[in-house]
């Protein structure tokens, strides 16, 4: 039975999982969830994710939610397929550190910026300039730390591309289409890292999927 991803191509969390599956060259079925119609709050979806959020994931009898738990599952269980998204031995501990950094330092700020700059306009709501300014300042501080880190390490977690980098891709893709791009461009190591990870074929495949829907 083929793996299933339930979600929306517009969801950054769902994108995280789709990118991981493409990095690994794994076959899966994408099951669209109509969020505008509130499908994610209905019984049948809540059975897959009681928090009523996308994505939800199925691999045989296993059901999972939380994109970062799903990507970790995929990376470990299918470690011999496609891109190794983890490191064996000691460096893995540092990969896990930077996965947590993405989740707790980058994502909250990036999500607020993408909400204000991209999603609110899409829903006909007004961008709050003060919130944008506040979060740009926070993002700048985070990126200063990333700049220092990437001066010591080729990728965030270790010397190869791992989930620590991958998890950034959905929000990065969105932010690089806004004026926030300048914060990344202004920092040479960060800028090079962004260019490198955004050039990966797996991301291109997921974006192509997004454009088709």
């Amino acid at each position: 039975m083929v793996m299933k991803v339930h979600g929306s191509v517009l969801s950054t969390a769902a994108m995280r999982v789709l990118i991981a599956l493409n990095e690994k060259g794994l076959e899966f079925e994408f099951v669209p969830v109509d969020m505008r119609a509130g499908e994610h709050k209905k019984e049948h979806f809540l059975a897959l994710n009681p928090f009523g959020q996308v994505p939800a994931f199925e691999d045989g009898d296993l059901k999972l939610f939380e994109s970062r738990a799903i990507t970790q599952y995929i990376a470990h269980v299918y470690e011999d397929k496609g891109t190794p998204l983890v490191c064996e031995g000691k460096p893995m501990a540092t990969v896990v550190v930077w996965m947590e950094v993405e989740a707790h330092q980058f994502d909250p700020v990036g999500s607020k910026l993408q909400w204000e700059l991209l999603l609110k306009p899409m829903f006909g709501m007004a961008t709050d300039a003060a919130v944008v300014e506040e979060n740009e300042a926070k993002l700048a501080k985070v990126l200063d730390i990333y700049e220092a880190r990437l001066s010591q390490s080729k990728y965030l977690g270790c010397d190869c591309f791992t989930l620590a980098d991958l998890h950034h891709l959905p929000i990065l893709t969105n932010l690089m289409g806004t004026h926030v791009k300048k914060l990344f461009d202004a920092r040479p190591k960060v800028s090079a890292w962004v260019a490198d990870i955004m050039a990966r074929p797996a991301l291109a495949k997921v974006l192509a999927m997004r454009n088709q829907q």
């Binding site: 009681p50 928090f51 296993l62 999972l64 939610f65 939380e66 994109s67 970062r68 738990a69 970790q72 599952y73 470990h76 269980v77 000691k90 501990a93 540092t94 896990v96 550190v97 996965m99 947590e100 950094v101 989740a103 707790h104 330092q105 909250p108 730390i145 220092a148 880190r149």
Partner: protein, 218 residues
């Protein structure tokens, strides 16, 4: 025998106490290294070398220096898989997937409203910062919704990830402890039958009782 591992930060910090609870569950000897946050020690160059975001905790053992409490906990569990509580972070991939799912739920969904409330209710008054009533109201509502879902989950499962106490449950201890004591939010937990059962069980563990003692003695 290896030297005790080092944990940097005050026991009163929720993130520090998360790591301490894990070390105690795993029977791993540790040394607590104080960080004087009142004098801004955590923002000074020496400390930023081990935690570039200027937050606590930081962690060192004989082979590595890391930060982020949930990363530290995972590392401790993997490195010392055969010590102490072996079910804390199972090596079985399917069980681990469930633990990761609920650990992520804690980090992404439980932590934001609960830590906002902990700050407003437990720390702001101590720091002479005016409480933000809007934030308290908003986060009480968010927490309530999360606890409804937890109550539903815990109806059919003894602990969050399954039949065993795991890192997923442990991760909830620090914030919840402050909420039900200093934060006066006990009713949110005791009024939900399964959450009440779960909270009583996990907070009675020896490891957590020791951490609370350590917090009191500082």
């Amino acid at each position: 025998m290896a030297a005790p591992v080092k944990v940097y930060g005050p026991t009163l910090s929720t993130a520090v106490s998360r790591v301490l609870a894990c070390l105690l569950e795993k029977d791993v000897e540790f040394q607590l290294v104080p960080v004087n946050m009142a004098t801004g020690e955590h923002k000074k160059p020496e400390y930023l070398k081990i935690q570039p975001f200027g937050q606590v905790p930081a962690f060192q053992d004989e082979s590595i220096a890391i930060f982020e409490s949930r990363a530290i906990c995972r590392y401790i569990c993997e490195k010392h898989a055969d010590k102490g509580n072996k079910n804390l972070y199972s090596t079985n991939p399917l069980v681990k997937a469930s633990i990761e799912q609920w650990l992520e739920a804690e980090g992404q969904t439980y932590n934001p409203p609960s830590s906002a409330l902990v700050f407003q209710l437990a720390f702001a008054p101590r720091m002479n910062i005016k409480q933000d009533e809007e934030s308290i109201k908003l986060n009480d509502q968010k927490l309530s919704k999360v606890l409804d879902i937890y109550d539903q989950r815990l109806e059919s499962s003894r602990f969050l990830a399954g039949d065993e106490f795991t890192l997923a449950d442990l991760s909830h201890l620090p914030n919840t402890h402050y909420l039900v004591t200093v934060g006066n939010r006990g009713e949110a937990f005791s009024s939900r039958k399964n959450v009440d059962r779960w909270w009583n069980e996990i907070s009675s563990r020896d490891s957590w009782k020791k951490v609370v003692e350590m917090q009191k003695s500082k």
